[in-house]
């Protein structure tokens, strides 16, 4: 619980740093992309802090390239 509180605190600090200047400049698209990425980041961090499994990009790459590797090394 403490960990996720810490992560939310970090997210709040990031929001505090970025959002006012973005609103001021009226960069709508930037704000949307920023929010989506931050949501992903916070989600992943909290999932990690609870010890749940996070999708690992390495597994995906292994799945894609394994047949090629097997074909070459055989």
């Amino acid at each position: 619980m403490l960990k996720s509180a810490g992560i939310l605190l970090v997210a709040a600090v990031i929001l505090f740093i970025e959002v006012p200047s973005l609103l001021e400049k009226k960069h709508k698209k930037e704000l949307i992309v920023f929010s989506i990425l931050l949501a992903i980041g916070v989600g992943l961090s909290i999932a990690y802090s609870f010890g749940s499994a996070i999708p690992n990009p390495i597994d995906l790459l292994t799945f894609i390239y394994k047949p090629l590797h097997d074909a070459i090394t055989r």
Binding site: L31, L37, T62
Partner: protein, 371 residues
């Protein structure tokens, strides 16, 4: 579209050197010695030569579009949709590499320097300065690289001079024992790590250099110097540690620095040498992270890339912690799957670009004139 920063050719040279040396200085000697044994230095030389020709290809592509970054080149060559998909693959590669390098730095620090610290702490600290550098922009990165290259070469020369008394020539014999296949196989890892990944420098190379034509030489020259550093280090590892120990260590360069002993007075200076690897690792990481952030901003057509740095930094930290459950997995991934992935993005994609450019040359010339 975004702010107009330019760095000069010398600053670019420094970045290329630090990028080429990057992770290779830590892990390549062991990767080379695993298969080629005491002939690892031959593999290093061959790898550097082949790597140079790959970098030459990159400079060639860069000079066709002197004002565009790699992402914009993709869009120009393949059109909006396919170009953006390919750029997205490129971004995923650089972002993944950032996470992998963060893992390296964390695992290096927690195994050798601070064994009781959890890896999360070191990675977060590293990520903070990573985000800081990218937010401050390319010029700041280039200038700090200019300062640190002096430190880097000073430490490297100290390492080489101090380790010289430990050289045992019998370690390198018999020469040319490895057959050509195993030499080619082991040089592949060096080619991939120090040259094929240099495709991420195409995010900087033509667009942000004030004289792209003369910088072409510096791109090649920087790669050559980086290659020489790696060749010298591989030589020393084989000479001092021997092929067996080099192959068995995770960080043979660190093991090498442990062997320094001058008159029982100057010894155990490896912590000083660790600064060498942290510097290289850091700048390589910065370039990867810069390319991914800047590239993502360009794909999505944003006006500023800075808002993306903090969230992406957060994502990278999480991935760096989960990406490899242990060192064995990392070694396995590095020596197999990673090579195919890097070759797909770093060699296949540029070659595809060459083909498409050759076909669409006339049409593109017209577009470039308009732009």
């Amino acid at each position: 579209m975004m702010q107009n920063v330019k760095i000069n050719s010398y600053q670019f040279l420094v970045l290329v050197i630090l990028f080429t040396v990057g992770t290779s200085i830590l892990i390549v000697p062991s990767a080379l010695a695993t298969v080629a044994k005491q002939d690892a230095w031959i593999a290093a030389i061959i790898g550097t030569v082949i790597g140079l020709s790959i970098v030459w290809l990159f400079t060639k592509i860069g000079l066709w579009f002197p004002n565009l970054t790699f992402v914009q080149m993709n869009e120009m060559l393949f059109g909006k949709w396919i170009g953006n998909i390919l750029s997205f693959l490129f971004i995923s590669m650089t972002l993944l590499s950032t996470a992998i390098l963060l893992y390296y730095s964390g695992s290096f620090l927690t195994t050798h320097v601070m064994p009781n610290t959890p890896m999360g702490a070191t990675n977060i600290l590293m990520a903070i300065i990573l985000v800081m550098a990218v937010r401050l922009g390319l010029e700041t990165i280039a200038r700090s690289a200019e300062i640190f290259i002096g430190v880097f070469f000073l430490l490297f020369i100290i390492l080489v001079v101090f380790i010289a008394p430990e050289i045992k020539f019998e370690n390198i014999q018999p020469v040319f024992e490895a057959d050509i296949n195993s030499i080619a196989e082991s040089s592949l890892s060096l080619i991939v790590i120090s040259s094929v990944y240099a495709v991420s420098l195409l995010m900087i190379y033509p667009a942000f250099i004030n004289q792209p034509k003369s910088a072409k030489k510096f791109f090649l020259f920087g790669n050559l110097i980086g290659g020489l550093v790696i060749i010298i280090l591989t030589f020393l590892c084989i000479f001092v540690l021997g092929a067996d120990i080099t192959a068995r260590q995770e960080f043979p360069g660190y093991g090498l620095a442990k062997m320094i002993n001058i008159g029982n007075f100057i010894n155990r200076v490896e912590a000083l040498m660790a600064a060498l690897w942290i510097i290289c690792l850091y700048f390589k990481m910065v370039i990867y992270f810069y390319s991914s952030v800047y590239g993502l901003a360009q794909i999505l057509n944003l006006k500023d890339y800075r808002p993306l740095t903090y969230p992406l930094g957060m994502i990278v930290v999480v991935f760096s912690l989960v990406i490899f459950p242990n060192v064995m997995e990392q070694q396995k991934f590095d020596s197999t799957i990673n090579i195919y992935f890097a070759l797909t993005i770093g060699l296949l994609l540029p070659l595809l670009m060459v083909i498409v450019y050759a076909i669409r040359k006339k049409q593109l010339k017209k577009n470039l004139d308009y732009a």
